[in-house]
């Protein structure tokens, strides 16, 4: 059984950060292998020596002593190594074991969330390390009912996926379906979240993602308590909540830190913002070019005045400014944080002031676009705000052709679309209900 050592020697030649060396742990002579980049070698070896110092009997005793995990086959050994484990192989060959080492600190610490800000409520956010995330979730939840199941998906790139649910609260048929799905896709490959969503049963052309993402452990805990299922993926600094419902764009767990009336106010505001974000540009075009009879005559006259000398039709005018706003948004995502404010200034002054003064667009248009863009980011989830950015063009097109009627037709189409989406048998457009008794 020297082949293990041979294979490992080969790995050492190919991978420059792999180390393999003989050492004596207690009375047993072994070979120790691991990636220097993942394992803090000096610390680990020091600890191993300490722990194994009074270990008389062979590998079995050592394994018992070190808490090693039996690895029967070579591919599994390589996987364990890739995951950052330390491999211990007896000198005479034979089965090796994987030992949890002192890992290198290659993850950032627990920080505040980058994309979801919290006013009142816990500030910490998930980060890239699965173990840290699991730890955060467990310490937030503090419940003996919190259940954790582990899956790994992928053959080339292996993703560790942790499935959490709350025993007794969870929607059982949902849990069963998610669990089945995760087992089924064991060998499937995915590189990004979109592909993962599709593997999990989503559609590639869907506007609505299969799962809700949240960076905030408080949110994850809230959904767990509701009976939903939370997935943590290795390397992703957020939790995936299944299923996603329409209310998630408007209702935030930390809303509950506020008085009830304030909560209602904020939620109504967000729902309003949703409609404003998608309908305002369309409404402008509809009122300016198709249905000016709906404006009050005073407003109609002042709007007409502000559009004097504007050369393009309202539709073109709107598309022109929206394009610039989208460019600014996209640019400010890419820009380093230190330059970001500069772009905001440029956007505000050049786009706002100069465009109007140059008589390329009307004053009202700038107000409408600004209001729509602001409203766009009032809704909670990042996913939704990106979807809204797209949806407003849909309504704009309808409005440009059919006016006010078109906007309502567009909203209807949108309603139809949303109501046909369902995840794991739970309609997207529904309020979360505790599971029915007959289920599961």
């Amino acid at each position: 059984m020297k082949e293990w050592l041979q294979e490992l020697q080969q790995v050492k030649e190919q991978q420059s950060d792999f180390t393999l060396f003989p050492m004596k742990l207690g009375s047993v002579s072994v070979y120790v292998g691991g990636f220097r980049s993942l394992v803090d070698m000096p610390q680990t070896l020091f600890q191993l020596q300490e722990m194994a110092s009074a270990c008389p009997e062979g590998m079995a005793g050592l394994s018992l002593r070190l808490g090693g995990e039996r690895i029967p086959t070579l591919p599994e050994a390589f996987l364990a190594l890739a995951k950052g484990k330390l491999l211990i192989v007896p000198e005479d060959g034979g089965e090796g074991m994987a030992v949890p080492p002192v890992s290198r600190k290659i993850y950032r610490g627990v920080e505040e969330s980058a994309n979801e800000s919290v006013v009142l409520g816990p500030l910490d956010a998930f980060n890239e390390s699965l173990d840290v995330n699991i730890g955060i979730l467990r310490s937030r939840m503090n419940s003996r009912f919190l259940q954790h199941e582990s899956f790994s998906v992928g053959s080339v790139q292996v993703h560790e996926i942790s499935l959490f649910y709350l025993e007794g609260r969870v929607h059982r048929s949902l849990l069963r379906k998610v669990r089945d799905q995760l087992t089924q896709i064991r060998d499937q490959e995915f590189g990004c979240l979109q592909e993962f969503f599709i593997l999990m049963g989503g559609r590639s052309w869907s506007l609505i993602p299969t799962a809700l993402t949240t960076e905030l452990p408080a949110q994850a805990v809230y959904y767990l308590k509701q009976g939903r299922v939370v997935l943590l993926l290795s390397g992703l600094p957020f939790a995936l909540v299944l299923p996603k419902l329409w209310t998630d764009s408007f209702f935030l767990a930390t809303d509950r830190e506020f008085p009830y009336l304030v909560l209602i106010f904020m939620r109504i505001l967000r729902i309003l913002a949703f409609f404003l974000a998608i309908a305002l540009p369309g409404l402008y075009v509809a009122l300016i070019s198709v249905n000016p009879d709906l404006l009050r005559v005073q407003l109609a006259l002042s709007v007409a005045e502000s559009r004097l000398g504007v050369p393009y039709p309202a539709m073109v005018e709107m598309l022109f400014v929206l394009l610039i706003v989208e460019l600014i948004l996209e640019a400010s995502l890419r820009l380093p944080k230190s330059i970001g404010p500069a772009i905001t200034m440029v956007g505000g002054i050049i786009v706002g002031q100069a465009l109007v003064e140059a008589r390329l667009v009307s004053n009202l248009l700038i107000i409408v676009v600004a209001a729509s863009t602001i409203a766009n980011f009032v809704v909670i989830s990042v996913q939704t705000s990106f979807t809204l950015r797209l949806l407003k063009y849909f309504l704009l097109l309808f409005a440009g052709i059919y006016g006010i009627f078109g906007i309502f037709a567009g909203l209807f189409v949108l309603g139809f679309y949303m109501s046909q989406v369902s995840f794991y048998g739970i309609p997207f457009v529904s309020l979360w209900k505790k599971e029915e008794a007959s289920d599961g």
Binding site: F190, E195, I198, S204, W205, L287, I288, S289, V290, P292, D293, L295, V297, Q298, A300, L301, S302, V303, A304, E305, R307, L308, V310, P313, A314, M315, V316, L397, G400, I401
Partner: protein
């Protein structure tokens, strides 16, 4: 994971892209390429049947300029068409807020004018109607200055948020259209004249019986009608030149019945008022009595006159709709209405006397 683009999506996308080429190429025009006349005057022309005058605010960089344009033709449509031909932008009647009819037109018949306004999809049926006994072009020209400054003189005159008072009747196109066809209800139309300094003078109301203006009532009588219609926001009544009161609440109960084929109506009217002004010493009881006498007297005078004209502007016929067979309703104006006995019982109560005690001098 490439599942290919669904065929349906491709065809939808193609359709959408093609639709995108449409805006600007068919009937849709931007607001700054339309002119939005707000007032239309209709009078008899010289020789021709109609003379149509439009007051058109045209927004400019600094202030709104108002143009008065007119054309004569056999029909309204033709006259408007001539105006449209001569304007540089598309004339849109969407914001037509007021149609002023000359007295001669109103006294002859407003049927074809109202039917035109209802039939044409451009004019909103909520537009106001008014009558003038002066030259229409002059009326529109006299308000030009104010319109140029604010853009909306006429609208303010009739707007409940602006210059409207209970002395001014509101008569909209749809009400006129209803009047053409209703057996049991008529309306009143405001009569306006140009006044000095670009103001409008309201001189009274015209009583419209079906399609014709048959007589006039005074502003005070209009107030009474509006009180009956519960439309009295801030109505002020002078009592015997000794006190002015403002009505704050009017409760009207109608008890219609038919006695041997003759319609009889008992009206209980409870008026609550606030004292605005008093001269000399007058007691609340005196004011109550005077007010009751005044309202009842004015009412009976008015009714007598209206019965003679067979114009049911109070809409009393509406109350008998359930009591007369449908065939008989046709004859409401000619047979039943002149026979109608009305007993009006007015009860006045003082809500308060303002910030002063009454008779406290």
């Amino acid at each position: 994971m490439n599942r290919g683009i669904p065929r349906l999506a491709v065809s939808l996308l193609a359709a959408v892209v093609l639709l995108g080429t449409l805006p600007g190429c068919w009937g849709i025009k931007d607001i700054n390429h339309r002119v939005l006349p707000t007032v239309m005057g209709i009078s008899h022309g010289e020789g021709n049947r109609y003379k149509v005058t439009l007051q058109v605010p045209i927004p400019g960089p600094n202030k709104t300029e108002v143009r008065i344009v007119n054309e004569e033709a056999e029909t309204l449509t033709k006259a408007l068409d001539r105006i449209k031909r001569n304007m540089e932008n598309q004339v849109d009647l969407l914001h037509m807020k007021l149609i002023v009819l000359h007295e001669e037109v109103a006294e002859k018949s407003i049927r074809s004018e109202v039917e035109y306004a209802v039939r044409s999809r451009e004019i909103a049926t909520k537009a106001f109607l008014a009558v003038t006994d002066r030259d229409i072009t002059g009326l529109l020209r006299s308000t030009q200055v104010n319109v140029e400054r604010e853009g909306t003189t006429f609208l303010n005159f009739f707007g409940k948020q602006a210059g409207w008072t209970p002395a001014i009747p509101i008569y909209r196109v749809w009400e006129a259209y209803r009047g053409l066809h209703a057996y049991t209800q008529d309306g009143i139309i405001p009569i306006v004249r140009p006044a000095k300094e670009g103001m409008i003078q309201f001189v009274g109301s015209g009583v419209i019986k079906q399609d014709r203006m048959v007589s006039r009532i005074t502003p005070d009588e209009t107030v009474l009608l509006n009180i009956y219609r519960n439309n009295f926001q801030g109505a002020v009544i002078e009592v015997m030149e000794q006190a002015s009161v403002s009505i704050v609440r009017a409760k009207v109960t109608n008890k219609p019945r038919l006695v041997k084929g003759r319609p009889r109506l008992t009206i209980d009217m409870t008026l609550s008022y606030i004292i605005q002004e008093t001269k000399g010493s007058i007691s609340p009881d005196q004011i109550n009595q005077e007010l009751e006498k005044l309202v009842a007297g004015q009412f009976q005078t008015m009714i007598t006159k209206l019965k003679r004209e067979q114009a049911d502007i109070f809409g009393f016929g509406q109350l008998f709709r359930g009591r007369l067979p449908y065939e008989e309703l046709k004859n409401w104006r000619s047979e039943y209405y002149p026979q109608l006995d009305i007993e009006l019982r007015v009860k006045a109560t003082m809500r308060n006397s303002g910030l002063m005690n009454i008779g406290n001098r």
